[in-house]
């Protein structure tokens, strides 16, 4: 429909159309939800290799002598633990300890950091960080200048080697490599959102089409498939990785989300610290836990009511069919008294309740990857 024209497009938009992708509105972006099918693409990533366009995500660069100290006051994880070339998952919180965004912070030089943030939060994150900027630190939003791809799957390392023919050694898990290609800088990180081995590549937007087509061509011998946001969602949900806006929000904290290991309360100060310290002392009242449907039923989706006996105790924050487990799965903030492994709950789907069980994270575990 005509609203389509108002949507933002990534540099790969024409490639997606050419590949027959079904495009949808994802937070104001026209993005491929699938090419051949969500289940197909999901299995491609679990079994071989898939490539996702993640150009909609945001790239900020923070630089300056005071950058590390400043980021440490804005983000929950401990920036001082990052050596050059390493990255960490971290949170940007509001004063109440609620999540503005979850992001990955890469240390790309001594006093230079790359932040990769969620597409729908680029403006909000930047405004928040800019408002808290300190002297001696520069912050640039270069989101439109960068395209991004996530190459994910057990054959990712083989593709890397085929691609660079030994010219570069693979970054290890949670490491980032900067490479110069035709005088332009590409960042290649060993990170992802699928639970499989893989790389996230950020390159100048004008190189997006060439890089994407090169990856698909070189990846052909590893049965690579272009994959859409549909598979990205089912893959991340099997791993219980949260999606901001669904599983994380301004009124949920990382401790409630069970992601306290990415919060360093030993740091002297960061925005949200006081609230989280208090929450840690008094104990959280609800926890984000994964569940699995135990019988045949329609796939659970977000905002379905959850019951314990006759009492409505929560709503699902995410839900889907799991292509790997072949059953409905999801996540929800459950009152702590019920947020235990093996607890039986019921999910209400169109007026009928179906049994589910609370499980341990992750719901799926992939084979360990090579280095």
């Amino acid at each position: 429909m005509s609203a389509d024209t108002a949507l933002k497009q990534t540099p790969l938009h024409a490639e997606h159309i050419r590949l027959g992708a079904k495009m949808v509105d994802f937070g104001g972006w026209s993005m491929p939800v699938q090419y051949t099918g969500i289940i197909d693409e999901h299995h491609a990533v679990r079994g071989n290799l898939g490539v996702f366009d993640i150009s909609h995500m945001g790239q900020f660069f923070a630089e300056g002598e005071g950058a590390a100290a400043w980021l440490n006051r804005l983000l929950t994880n401990n920036v001082d633990r990052l050596a050059v070339g390493e990255c960490q998952y971290t949170f940007l919180l509001n004063e109440d300890g609620g999540v503005i965004d979850d992001l990955i912070l890469y240390r790309i030089a001594d006093a230079r950091y790359l932040l990769v943030v969620n597409a729908s939060k680029i403006d909000e994150d930047f405004a928040w960080m800019d408002a808290h900027r300190e002297a001696g630190v520069s912050l640039e939003n270069q989101s439109v200048r960068y395209a991004g791809f996530a190459v994910q799957g057990p054959k990712s390392a083989q593709l890397f080697d085929a691609f660079f023919s030994g010219q570069y050694s693979r970054p290890a898990r949670n490491e980032i490599l900067a490479v110069e290609i035709d005088g332009l800088t590409y960042f290649i990180a060993r990170t992802g959102y699928t639970g499989e081995d893989g790389f996230e590549v950020f390159c100048p937007a004008e190189r997006a089409v060439k890089s994407w087509t090169d990856i698909l061509r070189k990846g052909a011998e590893f049965s690579i498939k272009p994959c859409g946001l549909g598979a990205r969602d089912t893959l991340r949900l099997e791993m219980c990785y949260p999606l901001n806006g669904s599983d994380l929000a301004a009124d949920t904290t990382p401790l409630e989300a069970g992601l306290g290991i990415f919060v360093d309360l030993q740091k002297p100060e960061f925005i949200g610290r006081a609230k989280l310290t208090e929450q840690k002392r008094s104990g959280v009242k609800r926890r984000l836990v994964p569940f699995r449907m135990t019988g045949p039923c329609p796939p659970p989706r977000s905002h379905y009511a959850i019951f314990k006996g006759d009492q409505k105790i929560a709503e699902t924050s995410s839900g889907s069919l799991s292509p790997t487990l072949k059953t409905g799965i999801g996540m929800a903030y459950i009152p702590t008294e019920f947020a235990r492994i093996n607890e039986q709950i019921e999910i209400e789907i169109r007026g009928k309740r179906f049994p589910a069980i609370i499980e341990k994270k992750p719901l799926h575990r992939s084979a360990p990857s090579v280095n």
Partner: protein, 133 residues
């Protein structure tokens, strides 16, 4: 898109194969392509009555639940139980093995409101590709 010539079509993308006073109902090739991988079909109950255009069952893909509407008024006389174990039949054979239910058409019901294959093809042709999901 496959639009068989011997069927009647609802604007909501259901097809009806009439055989005297009973009809078989399913979703069109276009509908299954739009839905993508069908993973669950909530069949109507045998004996359920519906008016033309009334929501009668639900088909779910990985991404979304979609209502299916009765193309004509009548009573459900049979349902395709094979879809419970194999909902993907809706994708692989929407006009055959993927039929959803059979309906006994209400006496006096006409099908003037349904589209001919030519009219339905026209509807699909007019649709903005990339619009409806």
């Amino acid at each position: 898109m496959n639009v068989p010539d011997d069927l009647h079509y609802a604007p909501t993308h259901e097809w009806l194969r009439l055989d005297g006073s009973s009809g078989t109902v399913g979703i069109t090739d276009h509908a299954q392509a739009e839905l993508t991988d069908v993973v669950y079909v909530e069949l109507p109950k045998v004996g359920a009555e519906a008016n033309a255009g009334q929501q009668i069952c639900v088909v779910e893909s990985v991404k979304a639940a979609s209502d299916i509407y009765a193309p004509v008024s009548g009573t459900v006389v049979a349902v395709n139980d094979a879809l419970t174990a194999n909902p993907a039949l809706l994708n692989t054979d929407p006009f055959g093995e993927g039929w959803i239910f059979k309906i006994k058409v209400e006496a006096g019901e006409d099908i003037e409101h349904l589209k001919t294959p030519a009219q339905y093809r026209e509807q699909l042709g007019a649709a903005d590709p990339g619009g409806e999901v």
